[in-house]
Symmetry: C2
Subunit: 391 residues, 2 copies
């Protein structure tokens, strides 16, 4: 247990509302790249109380641009937590019963060590000198946090998209510490098309002269235009053609007729511009590069000789996978291939495909099918584990 | 007939290999925006010979980034014409039988009047002072070209993607001048998602400081980075996930292992970067803005009270529509709704959906199903018109 060696502090600089655990040079993190990261820190939030048996902990893993504020107001945007619809007292993931943990991933930009934090060797922001982090590295840091909190075994690890990749990595690398795993709207590897979209986003950021080769903080600049373009392109992939047609169609924005110009004539244009502009207010451009790269690099089967089933051999973790019919970033086929691998590995696995036109982002929305799937699975798993008080 | 009023010249400045027709101030073009464009010029290529009856002319309409060099080497890239696989002596569109015409669209950048050509009022490049052009305006200019060539009735109007939109516009606005129409991989209106992708591309161009508010030519600059990003994003939409998986998967580029950095580790990354970089060598950034806007604005039903069938009332044109199963930019459903409208209008219509994983770009490729569909349709239409020499 690492609690005694880690230093707890409020992060007075960045995130007054987050807890911070700092891992000193006595607790270095060896990354997949072979590089050593030390010292480093992880910002996290907890909700509810850890029970005496330390058996009711649920780890939530966030997606590409998510953060630790999963069920409480986000201090940067002032908006409710990103999974506030799902997590809280009396909600599906009931913080009256579960001790919920969510940490900002390694390489993130809301309190955990990332490219915008200070490189102790130089006294300047890491920028691109920050080593590349992988999904595996994010999970290694989370393991240290869970150790620090004195928890041997997590009742559940839950996440969507990049969060789902972390769930799969947890279940593969630490099966004995994961009672149940819920990978949602995710894949065991990033597809060629998904890498392509990420590369477009990175090139958009890097094309912005205000990116300054990654040294924009010292230059007193921000590559806002490039990052906004990256977000706009990505945002399209989070939705679906059907949902865009339903919500926007070819509707005009506050006008009766086309203006025959390049203003945002169509609602979809002003919606996308808004998505781009509001994103740059809350996210660090270099972190965006690192997060997208971590997803691109994820390939769980490749780490196991090309056989995904071998990533889950002899696991006793119970799995529940969820996909959405209109998700074209992580189509149902991705989840199905994980289910096949888990079956081949002899794992206990449920799989729910939810009919919706809301695309990939459905996992973040008030989606009844998702909520009932998670609720039913967690209740059943709690009963099976003899944790009647959780069921 | 406009021939005597139009001035023919070789375009010694831009395109020595293209014919140019200049329409003087006595032949103004009234645009959909209400603005008048005059004078203006259209660059075009022809292949084969017009027969004595002037009944064997085939007009080819090019797509977003296409040009008039449909069946002969492109003078800018040195590559074969963009539909060289389809058009030429003895080919499916046989220039021993047909007189093939292809013009650079109005607003284009290969000889026709566009934002990079000189605004006669200022003596400087038009830039964004060029009026917005629509698909209807492109067709109006083509009508003037066809008049100039002394052709009353085209045996066929053929095009894919934005070219297909022009085909539909021709058939709708000038049914008496179009014997057969082949709209391929297209739609009667641009979808919300397609507008969204175009808007990302435009924002990428405009975010580049070298765009200079559209006045980059006078500034001696080119918004290459922004235009490359726009092209990269668009290029993904021209392919399909299946084709990307088949061609690139997660294969690495000239290396044995991940480099843990932001170089192009994956083949798909270097492929996309190449697509972006080679595009900026051959295309004008402002023209890209105008072409995407023309597609966004296209909505044939809206021009007819919301009923697409009313765009084709009492037409005697014979139609053949082609779609591709993996085209997610213009899914088969778009073609099917045009077919339904044509049926409702009592038109003669064939429809072929071609099974392929090559996505939207299939219309530009050596696709046997496409070739046999065009070949069969044109032969049958020629026989029906009594043009045995064409069949």
């Amino acid at each position: 247990m690492a609690a005694e060696r880690a230093h707890i502090a409020n992060n007075e600089a960045n995130e007054p509302s987050s807890k911070i655990v700092r891992f000193g040079t006595d607790m270095p993190l060896k990354l997949d790249s072979g590089k050593i990261l030390t010292p480093f820190q992880i910002a996290y939030q907890t909700y509810g109380e850890l029970n005496a048996a330390r058996s009711n902990a649920v780890l939530i893993c966030h997606a590409l641009t998510g953060d630790q504020h999963v069920a409480s107001d986000n201090p940067v945007t002032g908006k409710p937590g990103w999974w506030d619809v799902l997590i809280g007292p009396g909600k599906v993931i009931d913080t009256n019963r579960f001790f919920v943990i969510c940490s900002n991933v390694l390489g993130g930009c809301l309190g955990s060590t990332g490219p915008a934090t200070i490189n102790p060797e130089t006294g300047k922001p890491w920028g691109l000198d920050m080593p590349i982090v992988t999904i595996g590295d994010m999970v290694r840091a989370q393991v240290m946090l869970v150790d620090h909190l004195g928890i041997d075994r997590l009742f559940s690890v839950i996440g969507g998209s990049m969060g789902g990749m972390q769930v799969l990595q947890w279940a593969s690398s630490h099966p004995e510490r994961v009672h149940t795993a819920l990978p949602i709207a995710t894949g065991a590897r990033h597809s060629s098309q998904n890498i392509a979209f990420h590369e477009v986003g990175r090139q958009a950021v890097m094309a912005d002269p205000d990116w300054c080769g990654g040294r924009y903080i010292e230059a007193g600049k921000r590559p806002e235009k490039g990052l906004a373009v990256a977000r706009m392109a990505a945002h399209i992939t989070y939705l679906s053609e059907a949902a865009l047609h339903r919500k926007f169609g070819r509707n005009l924005q506050d006008r009766d007729a086309l203006t025959f110009g390049f203003d945002a004539d169509f609602q979809i244009e002003s919606y996308l511009r808004h998505q781009g502009m509001s994103f740059v207010d809350r996210f660090d451009a270099n972190s965006y590069l690192y997060m997208t790269r971590a997803m691109d690099y994820f390939d769980l089967a490749a780490d196991h000789g090309g056989r995904l089933a071998d990533a889950f051999r002899n696991t006793s973790t119970r799995f529940c996978l969820v996909s959405f019919t209109s998700d074209w970033l992580f189509p149902t086929e991705e989840s199905r291939s994980i289910v096949h691998a888990l079956n081949a590995a002899g794992a206990s696995v449920s799989f729910v495909e939810i009919e919706t036109d809301r695309g990939h982002d459905a996992f973040l929305l008030d989606e009844p099918g998702l909520f009932s799937a998670i609720d039913g699975f967690l209740r059943s798993a709690a009963r099976a584990r003899g944790l009647e008080e959780l069921a």
